[in-house]
């Protein structure tokens, strides 16, 4: 495979950029694979990559209904963090942080991982205590965290509302300095390019129509481009998990919901951190292009529409202005909606299933993007070894039955409340 580098870029410049290779090929599906990954999103592509890289399994196909990277990896707010309270979430995400830190070099594709730090603002002493509980848990898990007081927050983000005309004054915040953002599309493309180069078939415009299961064992998968024989299938279709689960006669602890996000018009750098509002649900960062990237609550009802309604955005932006009044003068340029698996305790599922050879990766709620590498890595391990890794042991499907829940927010099963 062609190596991407400044030298190669210069070299290609003089030949008019006519000699770049395909980033990935466009193969027709083979009759049989060792592993089929359903879903060409970030998690599916990463899973295929780590299957090839870590487990030397390369007779793999990724089947994607549309175009790769078209799901939530292509429509998120690009935040990467591991600021979790529960050990299972924290340790899993921190493992992912390590993968993020070396991803550009590992994939030879600049994913622009930018550890600009995330600050969760607190607006009461009680909230400071909740954050302290989380931050201390992070520190004891070896994750960086700092508790900031009001003055320290003001130093870092002076554009937040420190005036007297504020409903919920800022008391301080919890910062994870190593958290940050990355270029979301590049993550999908970087994984795709490397997976392809190691022999994985990336098959786009191919819809799964059914499964071939015999005696509780996976035999194959039926697709709009023909039947494929396969012993192991990994399901990575956040947002559409329930649709495929129906074809498998499974009912999962997941509801499908819509989350909107928006960007402002690009402006010169003004905000160099990721910041979340504590008296509501709003988060913001400024992209390298200069756009303010903003998000918040779910639209609040089951939806597959990928199109949201204005009251939710209005509500989200209201909290935005409450946090940073200067946003008022900016203009909302673009909005979009993504559909996501809201699991019943807010944490994901990476596990085997009762069907032999069928592996499940779902339930990422709003946290899927940051989990891409760790999810791919542990899912690849689970598929390759037919057993869960200790990093994803907490993400079991039967935890809902046993009560080993991982509820970071303490909201329970009403997934539409965010």
């Amino acid at each position: 495979m062609q190596k991407y580098s400044i030298f190669n870029l210069v070299k290609n410049a003089f030949s008019g950029h006519q000699n770049w290779d395909l980033a990935w090929k466009d193969p027709t599906p083979k009759k049989e694979y060792d592993v089929v990954i359903i879903g060409g999103g970030g998690h599916g592509l990463a899973t295929a990559y780590y299957l090839a890289k870590e487990h030397n399994i390369t007779n793999v196909a990724i089947i994607e209904k549309g175009w790769i990277g078209g799901g939530n990896v292509g429509r998120n707010t690009t935040i990467i963090r591991s600021n979790y309270m529960h050990d299972d979430n924290g340790l899993f995400s921190e493992f992912g942080m390590d993968l993020w830190r070396k991803m550009s070099q590992d994939l030879n594709y600049n994913v622009m991982f930018s550890p600009r730090g995330i600050i969760n603002l607190a607006h009461s002493d009680a909230q400071m205590n909740v954050y302290a509980r989380r931050g201390n848990s992070m520190r004891l898990n070896g994750i960086d965290a700092e508790l900031l007081n009001r003055e320290q927050v003001k130093e870092i983000i002076p554009m937040a509302d420190f005036s007297d005309n504020v409903r919920f004054p800022i008391f301080g915040g919890l910062m994870q300095p190593s958290a940050g953002t990355a270029r979301h599309d590049a993550v999908a493309w970087g994984y795709a390019r490397q997976a392809d180069s190691m022999g994985v078939d990336i098959i786009q415009n191919c819809e799964v129509t059914g499964f071939d299961i015999n005696n509780g064992k996976i035999n194959g998968v039926r697709t709009s481009r023909g039947d494929i024989k396969v012993k192991k299938i990994g399901l990575c279709v956040a947002g559409s998990t329930n649709i495929l689960a129906e074809k498998l006669n499974m009912t999962l602890p997941i509801e499908t919901h819509l989350l909107q996000a928006c960007v402002s018009e690009p402006v010169k750098p003004v905000l160099d951190r990721v910041v979340t509002f504590g008296a509501g649900h709003f988060y913001i960062s400024q992209s390298d292009k200069g756009e303010m990237v903003m998000g918040g609550d779910l639209d609040g009802y089951n939806s597959y529409a990928q199109r949201g309604n204005l009251p939710t955005l209005q509500h989200v932006l209201t909290e935005g202005i409450a946090m940073m009044p200067f946003l008022s003068k900016l203009k909302m340029l673009r909005t979009w909606g993504g559909i996501m698996d809201m699991s019943m305790d807010g944490s994901p599922i990476i596990d085997k299933t009762h069907i032999d050879g069928l592996y499940l990766n779902c339930g990422w709620c709003y946290g899927g993007f940051k989990a891409t590498p760790a999810s791919g890595w542990t899912f690849a391990h689970t598929i390759a070894q037919d057993r869960v890794h200790k990093l994803n042991a907490g993400y079991s499907l039967n935890r809902f039955n046993t009560g080993h829940l991982l509820d970071e927010k303490g909201l329970g099963t009403k997934t539409w409340i965010s």
């Binding site: 580098s5 410049a13 940050g180 270029r183 750098p269 003068k329």
Partner: protein, 483 residues
């Protein structure tokens, strides 16, 4: 300073009210009714900004909401606002604006070095490099890129303006006050339907303001004025200018942003800056018109290259010439209409038509006026850096693959028309699956998903007669009793 590109007695501006304004620190004059863009062009200013990546000089390309270039930093009443389109910003006394994305100035911009490095900066170049050494991305490369990106500067001061919301219900919401919007509104209003008619520009009438047509023995504009005047007297009708319907949401909820104050030097006491209307409409009529398409050619981003419809609008609405030596490059009759307007106002254009031997009433008129026309001719490239100085033109083969011998013609602007693209955004937002219409090379609305109908140019219908017929019919059909 004189407005040397302003011509006498043309346009809809108020020449009794002269306004002074500043652009990049220099004082200019315009008239009430100008946009910042028209006033700058009147003063011969065509260089307004720099492009995002290569920092190439940027002028004006359109005359309204479609403008990609002319983005400025606005200063108003002690506040500043980034990313204002000069083509949408109405002029007021004391307006100040500055170019963005250039340093130290729009005339001499250091960032333009990117223009010479452009062969190293192809699509996606950043994915392929800036990876070594590992820590350099965050500490060195990214801060540099961040600084270079972004357009205007956001003030972190608290916004002192006030914004309001309003909730409305209506029978018919009509988006756009061009011929189809006016006709349908008028017909429905006569049946007593409760109507909101929204126009994003300051003036009602849409294409009727610039086209050379006659409706009911009046000019298009006079007819539009008459209809609007009558609608305004009707208690069941709300007509709103400076009001953009920007979103079509579920269950026929549309949202409109009314600009109440931005065209004034400062917001009046107790007035909002903008008012957001949530409108639940029983029926929506989309009459949002169409936007002219460019034709792609070499250096087609040079200041002075613009849409032919924009050139016509600057002339007919603002009395401003975008050049004294225009070249019109067209693949349809719209370019001729612009050329005719030039000719009528004492300017000699040259028309390059990519077609071999088109014939129509409009073309005949152009010929009769003595306009110089070159058929099967194209602009290969614009020449000039900060402003068009000439154009490399050539004949083109019938299959459009081979160029003839290149010639250079002097010109100071190139007005382009590559035909029209219906504005289907609202229909598409409502869930309408659009379809491609071969005859016009563009998408038009397909099966309606909500209670919406698209009329006129937005529906790919460019004949005024047909537009009026269907729009009058739609207006009365939708509002009458037995439906």
């Amino acid at each position: 300073m004189s407005q040397k590109f302003r011509i006498e007695n043309v346009g809809l501006i108020n020449r009794d009210k002269k306004l002074s304004f500043k652009f990049n620190g220099k004082t200019y004059y315009g008239y009430e009714g100008d946009t910042l863009a028209s006033a700058l062009i009147a003063n011969g200013v065509h260089l307004v900004g720099r492009s995002f990546k290569y920092h190439r000089p940027r002028g004006f390309f359109g005359a309204g909401v479609d403008e990609p270039y002319a983005i400025v930093q606005l200063y108003r009443n002690g506040e500043t606002e980034p990313n204002i389109k000069a083509t949408e910003q109405e002029l007021f006394e004391g307006l100040e604006a500055k170019s963005v994305n250039c340093w130290p100035s729009v005339n001499f911009d250091i960032g333009a070095i990117n223009n010479f490095l452009k062969i190293f900066l192809p699509a996606g170049f950043y994915y392929k490099t800036f990876m070594w050494p590992k820590s350099f991305w965050y500490w060195i490369y990214e801060p540099f890129i961040r600084k270079a990106a972004g357009l205007g500067v956001a003030s972190i001061k608290h916004d002192k303006e006030r914004y309001e919301h309003k909730y409305e219900y209506c029978d018919l919401l009509i988006a756009g006050s061009g011929p189809s919007g006016l006709a349908s509104a008028y017909a429905a209003a006569n049946n007593g339907a409760k109507i909101i008619l929204a126009e994003d520009k300051p003036r009602f009438g849409g294409s009727l303001l610039t086209s050379d047509v006659n409706i009911g023995n009046q000019s298009g504009k006079d007819w539009a004025d008459g209809i609007i005047a009558e609608l305004k007297t009707m208690p069941n009708v709300v007509v709103k200018n400076r009001s953009q319907i920007f979103g079509y949401y579920d269950h026929n909820m549309l949202v409109m942003s009314e600009n109440v104050s931005d065209h004034l030097p400062k917001t009046k006491k107790y007035h909002p800056n903008k008012r957001l209307w949530y409108i639940r409409a029983k029926q929506v009529l989309i009459s949002s018109g169409s936007i002219e398409r460019p034709i792609v050619f070499g250096n087609n981003d040079t200041p002075g290259v613009m849409l032919s419809s924009a050139a016509k609008e600057y002339l007919k609405v603002y009395g401003v010439l975008v050049g004294r030596n225009p070249l019109v490059f067209t693949n349809n009759d719209s370019g001729y209409e612009t050329a005719i307007e030039f000719k009528k106002h004492g300017v000699d254009p040259i028309v390059l038509d990519s077609r071999k031997n088109p014939e129509s009433e409009i073309i005949s008129e152009a010929k009769n006026l003595g306009i110089s026309i070159k058929n099967s001719y194209v602009v290969v490239a614009a020449q000039g850096y900060k402003k068009v100085k000439s154009a490399d033109i050539a004949s083109i083969s019938d299959d459009k693959k081979q160029l003839g011998k290149m010639e250079n013609v002097k010109c100071d602007c190139i007005c382009v028309s590559g035909f029209w693209t219906p504005t289907i955004h609202l229909a598409s937002q409502s869930g309408n699956k659009t379809k491609f219409k071969e005859e016009i090379d563009a998408f038009v609305p397909g099966q309606s998903k909500q209670s919406e109908i698209t009329l006129g140019a937005a529906n790919g219908v460019f004949s005024l007669e047909e537009t009026l017929k269907t729009s009058f019919a739609a207006g009365s059909e939708l509002s009458k009793k037995n439906n």
